[in-house]
Assembly symmetry: C2
Homo-oligomer: 149 residues x 2
């Protein structure tokens, strides 16, 4: 996506594998005509869809049900100036099938902020992209980026 | 913003203070009519504006210059099931003033992916919101959220 900037592009399977390493990602959507972003607990379904668990009465659910959203997860290593980032983009829908809802209460994401009435939201993995930054440029502890100014 | 979900809302100054603790945030924008998100190095200007440093020829710059964007930074503590998240929303503009550009090469953000020709982008802090999750519900190591199902 950004070929000249020092990152290594990641394939779909590698992206999905990396996502399983972190418990929280960020849902990116539109709210009141403005870009909006919120960290949420998630897990991946077998087909790579992103599964979110959230309070049914939340503004988040109203804003994203039926909309195309992006879901981002990453790992930042400040010491090594390295990391990776994955983005899943696709339509989001609330899970309404009772049997599927019951299945997800057992195997789906755990929320760190449980609510009385919860819903699961599924983000279809229509686009899965990712990239990795291997590590900053240093020599004998000197940050060459800063030296170049 | 989401009063019934167990989070503590943060004031503007607390939000800006927390942001200084992390070297990377995520710029949220629209690209080819889809929601887009990308981790980037940043720092805050004295007035709370978010300063990004990126390659001048990048698609990112073309997508955000003159647009309203959101910029998110957070800290996730998976062990304590706690964390915070801050979002700065406002118009983004490329810094074109030569004196200001020179000032930012000295005091602005360092990029982990330096490029030959770089620009600084400024996101005005028109909206600054944040929230903190103090910690998951546990008793004697049992995750009560999971027990409640």
């Amino acid at each position: 996506m950004y070929p000249d900037d020092g990152f290594r592009e990641l394939g779909r399977q590698e992206c999905l594998r990396l996502m399983t390493q972190v418990p929280v990602g960020r849902i990116v959507f539109t709210r009141r005509a403005l870009p909006a972003v919120l960290p949420v607990n998630f897990c991946l379904d077998a087909d790579g869809a992103v599964l979110l668990r959230t309070a049914s009465a939340s503004e988040l659910v109203r804003a994203i049900d039926g909309a195309v959203v992006a879901f981002e997860a990453d790992h930042v290593d400040a010491v090594r100036q390295a990391g990776w980032s994955v983005v899943v983009t696709g339509p989001a829908t609330v899970v309404t099938d009772p049997a599927e809802h019951e299945r997800l209460t057992r195997v789906g994401p755990v929320s760190w902020v449980p609510a009385q009435r919860e819903v699961f939201v599924r983000v279809e993995p229509e686009l899965v992209t990712g990239r990795e930054l291997v590590g900053g440029r240093t020599l004998y502890g000197v940050n060459l980026a800063a030296a170049d100014g």
